[in-house]
Symmetry: none
Subunit: 226 residues, 2 copies
């Protein structure tokens, strides 16, 4: 994702802070939105879907802690990062902040360089987070983002359907996935495929990953075993 596409919501009741922080982050190329209290912050967050919210703890109307809690309740914002602005040495705010679901905190007074580097770090993490779909089962590593797997250190690229099938089965090792379920999750309910389609794909996975990993449960479906 490009910097220009990243929105940061800045929340503080002191215009000075808004300006100085806003200036520094704009200079870095981020899109800045501001709010002056918790209430406004929650509203704007809901509307604008920022990637990062920088929240002052002490504010009129609704303080940062509460705003944070509110925001964390909004499902569409679950991937949004939240960081607090706290006065130095306010241990309480930090703990309370993490409890409320914050990801980091920045201490006042604000040093522009520290601020910018923290923000960069947080957003880098954001990018990371999006890419975090790694699953390890025994000697098999599945990278859901890159659609590839790693078996005993050897990289294998699987066709999409095979990958998705593997991905489904490994999502709950041991659990038997019924044919219906597989069809639904991998092919989609609308698509109608022949009765042998799943088998064929299982066979291909067996060839590539290993015979023993996929157990047939006759009359029911398939399961992945460790």
């Amino acid at each position: 994702m490009d910097k220009q596409d990243i929105k940061i919501l800045l929340v503080d009741d002191e215009p000075d802070i808004l300006e100085i922080v806003g200036y520094n982050l704009s200079a870095e190329g981020y899109q800045i939105i501001t709010a002056e209290n918790g209430l406004q912050a929650v509203k704007k967050a809901k509307k604008e879907h920022p990637h990062l919210i920088i929240l002052d703890v002490m504010m009129p109307e609704m303080d940062g802690i509460e705003a944070c809690e509110q925001i964390r309740k909004i499902p569409s914002l679950k991937d949004t990062m939240i960081t607090f602005l706290t006065a130095r040495g306010e241990d309480y705010s930090q703990v309370a902040g993490f409890d409320a679901g914050a990801d980091d905190y920045i201490t006042k007074p604000i040093k522009p360089k520290v601020l910018v580097s923290k923000v960069k770090a947080l957003l880098r993490r954001y990018k990371q987070e999006e890419k975090e779909g790694m699953l390890k089962i025994g000697n098999l590593v599945i990278d859901r983002d890159e659609y590839k797997i790693n078996l005993n250190g050897e990289e294998i690229i699987l066709p999409r359907k095979e990958f998705e099938l593997l991905s489904l089965l490994t999502s709950k090792p041991g659990k038997v996935f019924k044919r219906d379920e597989i069809l639904d999750k991998v092919w989609g309910n609308e698509v109608i495929v022949g009765g042998r389609t799943i088998d064929v794909h299982i066979r291909k996975l067996r060839e590539k990953i290993g015979d023993d990993s996929f157990r047939t449960v006759k009359g029911v479906g398939y399961k992945f075993v460790d």
Copy 2:
């Protein structure tokens, strides 16, 4: 196993990280032990037998990768889970980590919620009872998700009808299921099968599970007894 009984060894050279991670995991009810470098980590691991080790990659004295390798060599710790703390985007650490025998990794900076949920996921294996669809009766464990049963620690795979019949009878141990009822629930009302079909299936279960577990109630049906 109860949460209070689960020990987590936390290894990082930055006191801040130890504190924040420790705080969050303590809050979840886990027992926390800490170490500041790889050497200490290996020592403490050997002594304390933690269930999970959270290991920073970059540390003085001995880095996380090496510590992990050392720990993996200790037979008594073979069931211990190890997860790394890696800095953003360090693909190298991830691969090297898995190579060294790690089970997962967590990216820095740490997001408390992600941390906690990852830890929970990793430790789930210690809490077997939480699994849904598991039924324990005496020395018999019936796992409806995995379509398998476990008798005195030995795994037995049953064909579908047998599994369903067993599943039905054990759903209310002691209760007599009438033949009609069994036919209805296991075969479905529409299907018409001969009069000896149930008996034959009961016989097969008796062969596999044990004669005494299935009592015939003449003129009525069958029941499962503990």
